[in-house]
């Protein structure tokens, strides 16, 4: 793009470049595609290892089975709830906390910012954090998933510098009219920050939707499992089978597993072509923050 000043001939270089990048894209996409086609194939074809490029014996059997059992739909619902509530809390906490921290004259500002930034480098680690969550009786509740990471420090700093970069003139006129800080934040600053909030919201959303480790350690009740934890259980079944720890069972579980992966990817696949712009912006915002 940088160097296309004039229209030039299609050279061997262009041909090789197109070929390499085209193949590369296919390599990057194929595993996702493969999950799709296996999930729509029938057991016999998958067992014969004949599924490569297109579903064989096209059917929705796996999806029907998934929705007949209670486990996966419940896990799906749990994921939706955790992601919705979690992202909502994340955004609210971050957008609100960033505001006072962005005000230059705030009492104790230096202290607060330093204390917050320090936690990026020093933290208690898995075990002490687990004990805090346990002490607060959050184990086996949605709050164990949502509260311990209610604010991501990096995203907080991004929003803080976004607020700081806003023109003071916007705020001044509201101050002159006697608006409270609450009003200024909620009806002036936050609406104006929608693009930045959307960008970090995407990171929060992805974080919740894809998380498995924290739900795995904080939830013991299988009824509370989100999709990723349910998927992990299927995976372990696979590994056990392949390392010879258990006998090879019928192939149906594999098709069901891939169908579960497909339904778990749907929101991500729907969002990502639109969201990648924000995603890229988020990465850049983060790097400029430095």
């Amino acid at each position: 793009m940088v160097n296309n000043g004039t229209r030039r001939r299609w050279t061997l270089f262009d041909f090789a470049l197109t070929l390499i990048l085209g193949l590369l894209s296919m390599v990057l996409i194929y595993p996702v595609f493969y999950v799709f086609i296996v999930s729509f194939s029938d057991t016999a074809s998958v067992a014969r290892n004949s599924v490569f490029l297109w579903p064989k014996g096209f059917n929705f059997e796996a999806y029907r089975q998934i929705f007949e059992t209670a486990r996966i739909p419940r896990a799906y619902l749990n994921t939706v709830i955790y992601t919705g509530v979690g992202t909502g809390i994340n955004l609210l906490m971050t957008a609100v906390a960033a505001y006072p921290l962005s005000r230059p004259g705030l009492f104790g500002r230096k202290f607060f910012v330093l204390a917050i930034v320090l936690t990026m480098f020093i933290n208690g680690g898995i075990i002490p954090t687990y004990l805090v969550v346990q002490k607060l009786h959050l184990i086996d509740t949605i709050w164990a998933i949502v509260l311990p990471n209610a604010i991501w420090t990096f995203e907080l700093l991004i929003i803080k510098s976004f607020y700081e970069a806003m023109s003071d003139a916007i705020r001044e006129s509201a101050v002159v009219e006697g608006a409270s800080e609450y009003r200024i934040l909620f009806s002036l600053i936050m609406p104006l920050s929608k693009p930045a909030l959307a960008s970090i919201g995407l990171f929060y959303f992805m974080g919740h939707w894809n998380s498995y480790f924290l739900p795995m350690i904080y939830l013991n009740d299988a009824n509370l499992y989100p999709l990723q934890v349910a998927l992990r259980e299927m995976l372990f079944f696979d590994v056990a089978r392949q390392t010879g720890l258990t006998e090879r069972a019928s192939l149906a579980p594999e098709i069901i597993k891939n169908a579960t992966i497909v339904i778990s990817m749907i929101p991500v696949l729907v969002i990502y072509p639109f969201a990648q712009k924000y995603f890229a912006k988020g990465v850049m915002l983060g790097s400029e923050k430095g």
Binding site: V2, G5, A97, P100, G125, N149, D238, Q242
Partner: protein
């Protein structure tokens, strides 16, 4: 003195009220666990609590350093992080430089969009794909090996394959995503440099070699140092999904050990001590890396 402080607090009271949830969050969930690290020097159990547990000094650390686990974990964590850094680092750079040469805007956009996709997938899904593709019975990799007349390989049960699998799947997942930063750096290159080179009759690969790459060298350098600061911060969630007792000898890292000892065996104090030790090494690495970045004229992390 006191009156000025109170005056300031009164002046800022609305802002401070807005800050309360944030203060509570950091106090409870960030500084709480830091305080909780004292259990690494105590014999903590659930019923006596942190305060009443007996002090044992460095006993847990001594046990760890004297035991057989320490060197194995240290070696595994370092090597996995180090090899991941060395092998995966060039991919996003090469990808960004090549992508920049594409003149067909639509094609360029499609390739870039495709390259982001894996970064959006969860570590469970990626691990599932890895397991399926490498399966000795129905995995495509083993089917390909078989059709070429090779023996099948039990990849996930083979310690010698573990790091390769971990690193290759990392490259696959994050190459496109990490290229973003290099593409941005490339976009910032002065176009007149290319114009001048073209007038002088430079070929496209000459421009890549002598303009594009040197122009983003400082970005490459800083990224490398920042990443080397994170060598000890392994993506242990994927290790946890891909390892099993047959591969522990290469796959077990500090965090997975902490998880097993602490959460599965309820050895809280011992696990906290190991976790603290790991965090200290990781912090030292990060500080060193940051120091080097600054010495090299970069901005550093702070």
């Amino acid at each position: 003195m006191h009156t000025t402080i109170w005056r300031h607090i009164r002046r800022d009271r609305q802002l401070l009220i807005l800050l309360i949830p944030c203060i509570v969050f950091y106090a409870l969930f960030r500084y709480g666990p830091i305080y909780g690290l004292v259990i690494a020097f105590k014999d903590y159990d659930l019923y006596t609590g942190i305060l009443k547990s007996d002090w044992v000094g460095l006993a847990h650390f001594r046990r760890f350093f004297d035991g057989p686990d320490f060197w194995l974990l240290f070696k595994n964590t370092f090597l996995l992080g180090f090899f991941t850094l060395i092998f995966s680092f060039p991919f996003p750079i090469v990808f960004a430089v090549l992508l920049n040469e594409v003149r067909h805007t639509r094609f360029k956009k499609i390739v870039q969009t495709a390259s982001y996709l894996p970064a959006f997938l969860s570590v469970v899904i990626v691990s599932s794909m890895v397991i399926d593709f490498l399966s000795p019975t129905h995995g495509l990799v083993n089917l390909a090996l078989k059709s070429m007349g090779f023996e099948r390989i039990y990849f996930l049960a083979a310690p010698e394959w573990f790091r390769t699998i971990y690193i290759a799947s990392d490259i696959w997942q994050f190459m496109g995503y990490e290229a973003i930063i290099y593409l941005a750096a490339i976009a910032g290159i002065d176009p007149t440099l290319y114009e001048a080179a073209r007038v002088d009759g430079a070929k496209r690969y000459h421009m890549m070699r002598y303009i594009t790459v040197p122009s983003i060298m400082s970005t490459i350098f800083i990224m490398f140092i920042l990443k080397s600061g994170n060598v000890f911060r392994i993506g242990f969630e994927k290790v946890l999904l891909l390892y099993n007792p047959t591969t522990y000898e290469v796959a077990d890292v500090f965090s997975t050990f902490v998880y097993r000892k602490g959460l599965l065996e309820a050895n809280y104090s011992y696990a906290a001590a190991v976790g603290l030790f790991e965090a200290i090494i990781a912090l030292v690495m990060l500080l060193t890396a940051n120091f080097l970045t600054k010495r090299a004229g970069g901005k550093g992390l702070w």
